[in-house]
Symmetry: C2
């Protein structure tokens, strides 16, 4: 898509006419050093509007697991992209929740891919100290003022900060240094079951293929300001193990009076017995027969972890998580090595029979364990599921259903890629000593970018700090009381700097993909 197309499209929107013309003019000074102060002034001027836009976004939760607001979420995502200057914005049907595909053609030599999610995790307002959709600005002792709401950190806060960077560059009449290709999905929190239908649609795939890599906005700073650059992420499978009387051919096909336990088999006990076989006695090691062995950490990876853990406060981490001891009472560094290198099988939830207050004397016909597994190379999603099914069958639990709801393989990107090197350059210029981290223990569907056919680098980037992802009182820092930690505007500026670093003419020659 050329600059003339851009002008025509933009001119269609009356409200954006002036801005579009300004941007066209700015395009003429592409090569000039950008006026960082002017951009920063625009960031500050737009601060209230950006925070308000973030609050409005948080007030519209799209939750795929609950079939909530997918259409509205995609439309809002499209609107945000349009307003931020993407010329082509399109809602993409995927068979699941719709995705959004958008391109911003700046006529620049470099193209960068962006991965967004517009969905958020479920929440229970009763567990929150501040209403999760009101996105109030709350004092966080020791941190500053933070916006508290579902999605604040994961991922709307950082994503909004990135969009604010685009607004600021345009409002400051500066040249957009790179072209952008945005893919946004609404099913990240259910394991991205249709991400391929969005990303690999031929035209979208072709647009992404032109990029030097794909990144997701994120507040990478921890509470002390330290920054970690992740070189990948674990894979994940989410599934339900269901013990059911009908499938089993034993026990009841509906809940019956619990006195019948003396003569009727129990699917709930069966689930317990089957679960028991999946992990070691301490519940910490996957004990699934034939489960692939994880690759050992490389010396490089160990060095990264050693450096990073030395720079991060163990006491702080324990306090934030409410965890008095790591597994096996491991020291901080070994606990982190375990975090990076080991696959896991976790019980997210147990649901069977009567789950309300007090008791109810039923013998349930069905019991469910909600499970997630985190995967490291060479363990693939399909390999993990196959091993689990084979294990259950071998142990006589072949009737227990393994209902996979989502998941994907792990993802990995080289530290030498231009996408990562640009991050390191920006951070070092800011006086930060970025820590490299081999693999995020959490998961995101980077595999769709890093595996063939795209085979691109994929990463996260952004300064700023947030917490409480998937938990109550999720937050993203707006005004920081610690000069080492960026607030919202500082996060926005980190994206400005990253974009210009990615667009530097010389950058193309400093490192390959």
């Amino acid at each position: 898509m050329g600059a003339s197309d851009f002008a025509v499209r933009r001119a269609r929107g009356r409200a954006w006419k002036v801005a579009a013309l300004a941007l066209m003019m700015a395009g003429a000074v592409q090569a000039a050093t950008p006026d960082r102060d002017a951009i920063q002034a625009q960031v500050a001027q737009r601060h209230d509007a950006s925070v308000k836009a973030l609050q409005d976004w948080i007030a519209l939760p799209s939750i795929a697991a609950e079939d909530l607001n997918a259409k509205q979420g995609a439309e809002y995502m499209a609107k945000l992209a349009r307003e931020a200057g993407f010329q082509h914005v399109e809602i993409v049907e995927t068979g699941g929740k719709p995705g959004v595909y958008a391109t911003l053609d700046a006529g620049a030599p470099t193209t960068v891919g962006l991965y967004y999610m517009y969905d958020v995790k479920q929440f229970d307002p009763a567990e929150w100290s501040s209403p999760p959709l009101e996105a109030r600005i709350v004092d966080k002792p020791g941190l500053g003022k933070a916006i508290v709401g579902r999605g604040a950190a994961n991922q709307k806060g950082p994503e909004m900060a990135f969009l604010a960077a685009l607004h600021a560059i345009r409002d400051a009449k500066q040249a957009m240094p790179v072209n952008l290709v945005l893919v946004a999905e609404g099913e990240e929190e259910i394991g991205s079951p249709n991400i391929g239908k969005l990303v690999l649609r031929p035209d979208i795939q072709a647009a992404l293929k032109k990029s030097i890599g794909v990144f997701m906005p994120m507040g990478l700073q921890d509470a002390d300001g330290a920054v970690t650059v992740n070189l990948g992420a674990k894979g994940v499978v989410e599934l339900e193990l269901v013990a059911d009387g009908k499938a089993w051919g034993r026990g009841p096909s509906k809940d019956v009076h619990s006195s019948l336990k003396a003569m009727v088999d129990s699917p709930a006990w069966r689930l317990v017995k089957a679960l028991d076989t999946l992990v070691s006695e301490d519940g910490n090691t996957v004990a699934i027969d034939g489960f692939p062995k994880p690759a050992p950490l490389t010396a490089d990876e160990r060095a990264m972890i050693a450096k990073s853990t030395a720079a991060r406060s163990e006491a702080r981490a324990k306090q934030v998580l409410g965890v008095p001891h790591w597994i096996d009472d491991l020291p901080w560094q070994q606990a982190n090595e375990r975090l990076v290198s080991q696959p896991t099988i976790n019980i997210e939830g147990l649901v069977g029979g009567y789950t309300g207050v007090g008791g109810k004397t039923v013998l349930p016909h069905r019991a469910v364990a909600k499970i997630d597994m985190r995967l490291v190379p060479p363990i693939t999603r399909d390999g993990a599921v196959a091993a689990l099914k084979a294990h259950l069958a071998k142990h006589g639990y072949g009737d227990i259903a393994v209902n996979v709801s989502g998941g994907y393989d792990s993802t990995s990107t080289s530290a030498d890629s231009r996408l990562v090197q640009a991050q390191l350059a920006v951070l070092r210029r800011d006086g930060l000593d970025p820590l490299l981290w081999p693999r995020l223990a959490g998961s995101y569907p980077g595999f769709v970018f890093t595996q063939p056919p795209l085979s691109l680098p994929a990463a996260h980037f952004g300064l700023g700090h947030g917490g409480g992802a998937h938990a109550p009182d999720e937050f993203f820092l707006i005004e920081s009381s610690n000069p080492k930690v960026r607030g919202f505007d500082g996060s926005v500026m980190s994206f400005v700097d990253y974009l210009y670093e990615l667009g530097r003419p010389s950058a193309e020659t400093t490192a390959g993909q």
Copy 2:
């Protein structure tokens, strides 16, 4: 309380004046053979009113576990007793949900105790085919017309039928053949934690002590019409096993992101591992160390079970329960021997972490198993709980909380007691061949009557048929399509006959207590 007191009290209620006078006159013909046809005519005449009163009662669910309608339920129970002719009716504070104590003095030589519950089990309307509080009259193929609602069978239907018997005797101007002492509790479904405070209050205990025993109205007929007379019931303990990060001193003290499983211990897995130790591999035998051994069945008990199982349809039982095989593929008779003789440990419910639709990648800080145990002699409630706690401690799970919410010992009554012999006499007169059953697998707090200080016989009685106790679509038959099975009016008449049998002058000499 004398007959003159009675007259004064009754006369206070204008609406009951005529009836009261009639009853006084009827009192004079105490010894006369009652006019059964006249009573039956009154039962028929009052049918619609009785069913309406049952529907109104079902519309007012008292659920102790949910702290719902205890006061209203006790008041309604008191009103029902007053309307049925009890002269002294009193709401009794117990420290928990209130009880109701009522006496009906007929000036008769024989006094009979009544045990009622006005509370019902929890319910989830989504699981019902007919709204659980609407108590609709629904066609039940093969059975007839049944009232469907929470409490219909357990226990409001049979209890209302008994009250209807009192109305009918009075309306037919017949003498009430026995004095009645009623105790009604509102906590049966949570294990009767305060039953002693009601039953053993000195004046109530003294009133009950004069009785020949205590019975609870029940629809004893199965779907084929067979009647079983139970000589006791298992004891029960309801409790929650709670694995919690804080109590454990490991794992998180709040839900954290599931990726942390690689370095953080899991209370949910801990619960699974602890549960696993409590039962045999098939989940069917209590494997708690030091758990008392159940007493073997006596030859008499085996004979009772053999006769009863031969008379009952195994296919029908399997169909009703939706159970294709009994435990260990036992034949019908052995399955029933197991039902009577074996203690159980049952998972009523599993609740941990995320229990909603889909998944949510958390590592829960807490997981709960809702457990009920059924107890047979010589296993006491306290003995079972002590063994469970000792077992958990011995296996290294001493941090797992054992939160007992209710329960009591088993109960047993001799077949030779007048309470039971009168049942057999009534049933045989009706051409029914009653089956004796050593011990109900379900539980009720009969221990408070059968153990010292009262040491009374305690039993259930009543014709009629119901089902779905503690389950969706609970029902009690109103109009039976099978001549062998009594509908509501037939159930009422079974109580009329039982009361006259209990009051027969000669009955006092036919059997001891």
